[in-house]
């Protein structure tokens, strides 16, 4: 999945094709209780994602990954900066139902928590039909047919379509979440730590599914994760976020094989593997923070 480029490739690989998503100078700070400094979740973040491309967004907890992800789907506003998907300004007020729905069709999201992100009252089939009906994409019969196709797409059976979330495993639920996102035919799919709660073999299945979907449907993917191995597996390019700043950007293979920024190096060397020593990781982390 990762491109066969070697470590000698430049750190920056331009997005293939015209940009679908254009983010420029995104800023967001969260006010804290009195006496504490505001937390900067995004500090001048810019990036582009091309159609059919998977952009990985990595960084540790609190680096601002989720804030960026939530901005893309309209759950979070920016203090400054601009965000365009297919040329449309995401921050311009959406007046009226049609505008709101059109905007929702641009970007859909799969959430981290496979247990809480599905409506526990609706069966899988009902959830998919409801999404399509909300957008007026099909009549009841058509929506049902398309729901069947979507289930097939995410490799769930018709029988599983009749089940409710609590009857499904974590991996199955994330498949449902992906199907629900695809139900409105988005141009961008945001996965916010979408495989983090799953065990490794299930992760691999979901990653394969996401890769297949972006290839077949040509939709762009923003893949947010703290797990470098997972991002390396699926992303074409990566953006490394440290306390709201993009510290490194480039082809996934280049960034992970030959990290240039000290923070990226720290992240890469912190991944558990042979000879991994947690004490050393913590010590190096302290050293790094002290130097900044």
């Amino acid at each position: 999945m990762s491109t066969p480029e070697t470590a000698s490739a430049t750190a920056f690989a331009p997005a293939p094709g015209p940009a679908l998503v254009e983010a420029a100078g995104l800023r967001r700070a969260f006010r804290m209780p009195k006496g504490q400094d505001p937390v900067v979740a995004a500090n001048d973040v810019s990036f582009r994602i091309a159609a059919g491309e998977v952009l990985g967004l990595v960084g540790e907890s609190g680096s601002g990954k989720s804030t960026i992800a939530r901005m893309l789907v309209g759950l979070e506003r920016a203090d400054a900066g601009s965000l365009r998907i297919a040329g449309a300004d995401r921050f311009a007020p959406a007046r009226g139902r049609a505008a709101r729905l059109a905007r929702a069709r641009q970007a859909q999201m799969v959430f981290q928590d496979p247990y809480g992100s599905l409506d526990r009252r609706l069966s899988v089939q009902q959830a998919l039909v409801a999404a399509m009906r909300l957008h007026g994409l099909a009549d009841r019969e058509g929506a049902r047919r398309r729901a069947g196709e979507l289930l097939d797409r995410v490799r769930l059976t018709v029988e599983q379509g009749a089940l409710r979330p609590h009857q499904l495993s974590g991996g199955q639920r994330q498949r449902v979440a992906i199907a629900r996102a695809l139900a409105v035919s988005p141009t961008l799919l945001v996965l916010d730590e979408a495989v983090s709660a799953l065990d490794v073999s299930v992760q691999a299945q979901i990653l394969e599914l996401v890769d297949e979907i972006r290839r077949d449907e040509g939709i762009a993917v923003l893949f947010v994760s703290h797990d470098l191995a997972v991002v390396d597996e699926i992303a074409d390019r990566v953006l490394v976020l440290y306390r709201g700043d993009v510290v490194e950007e480039g082809a996934a293979s280049a960034v992970f094989r030959a990290p240039e920024h000290p923070y990226t190096r720290l992240l890469v060397s912190s991944v558990p593997g042979p000879g991994w020593d947690p004490h050393e990781v913590i010590a190096r982390r302290r050293e790094f923070d002290a130097a900044r």
């Binding site: 759950l75 709101r100 905007r103 069709r105 809480g116 009252r121 409105v184």
Partner: protein
């Protein structure tokens, strides 16, 4: 929604499997009471207001199963017919209070801000102010009668329901599926009413059932005090009041029978309400 939710609950849990005889008996008893209310005119041997001066303070006999009251009216018939008013009153008061309270509670939880602050103040005042006193005040202004009592109690209950709704709505709104609906482009009203509210129904239901019992008590109390149902109604609270003259004469039934009816229904309702909360809460 209430009946289907309850039906589904019974099917899914299977009363026999859970072996909860108290719940089963309470539910059966309430079912019986509702049936009696529905078919009271057919079941009652006499019209409830048929006065018979030859049978005043009559003891239980084959002709009058529970005896007669101070006007010689058949107590059994009055009890059966009284089921209707005694149940419809709290039902109506709860329906009104629920519509107002749930709406306010949802809006407060969703919006926060001044709506939330205003709700908190109103509920504080209502909690500090004895409910019955408030109701008597409303009745003093608008005049006594069964419907004034119902409306006044509905106004007193609405903030309580709003506060409860707000607390469960806050935890419900924190769930990621609400964000998922936002991302999907659903409007705030659609999410709150069509999606979040049905998910809150299980928690609300048990609470409302318990409140129904409380409402029945309050309305009976008001009728007893003369502020609610008016003669010749056979509302149970009013029956207790009208029958109490008989106590000094040694005729306990006219007071005791409607009093026991109130107590039995309230106890059954409370058991069902608490068990419902436990069962539905455990699943959510």
């Amino acid at each position: 929604m209430t009946t289907t939710a309850t039906g589904a609950l019974l099917r899914r849990d299977g009363l026999a499997r859970r072996r909860d005889p108290l719940y089963a008996v309470s539910l059966a008893f309430l079912g019986l009471v509702v049936l009696v209310a529905a078919f009271a005119p057919l079941l009652a041997p006499y019209p409830p207001d048929a006065i018979d001066f030859t049978a005043i303070w009559g003891s239980p006999s084959p002709a009058h199963l529970l005896g007669t009251d101070q006007l010689g009216r058949d107590l059994f018939s009055r009890l059966l017919l009284g089921t209707r008013e005694s149940l419809i009153g709290p039902l109506a008061l709860l329906a009104g209070a629920t519509v107002i309270g749930v709406a306010i509670g949802l809006v407060a939880a969703w919006n926060g801000g001044w709506v939330d602050v205003l709700l908190a103040r109103i509920t504080d005042v209502m909690f500090a102010f004895p409910g019955l006193l408030f109701v008597v005040l409303v009745i003093a202004v608008f005049g006594k009668g069964p419907w004034t009592a119902v409306v006044a109690l509905a106004l007193a209950y609405a903030p309580v329901i709003a506060k409860f709704t707000r607390s469960i709505a806050l935890s419900e709104l924190a769930r990621p599926y609400v964000d998922a609906y936002r991302v999907q482009g659903a409007s705030a009203v659609h999410i709150a009413v069509r999606r979040v509210l049905p998910n809150m129904t299980p928690a609300l239901l048990g609470y409302l059932v318990v409140l129904f019992g409380e409402g029945l008590m309050s309305l009976a109390t008001l009728s007893y005090l003369g502020f609610g149902a008016q003669p010749p109604s056979s509302e149970w609270g009013l029956m207790v009041q009208e029958g109490q003259d008989g106590i000094v004469l040694g005729h306990f039934a006219p007071t005791l029978v409607p009093g026991l009816a109130i107590a039995a229904v309230v106890v059954a309702v409370n058991i069902v309400g608490v068990r419902l909360s436990e069962r539905l809460g455990a699943r959510a």
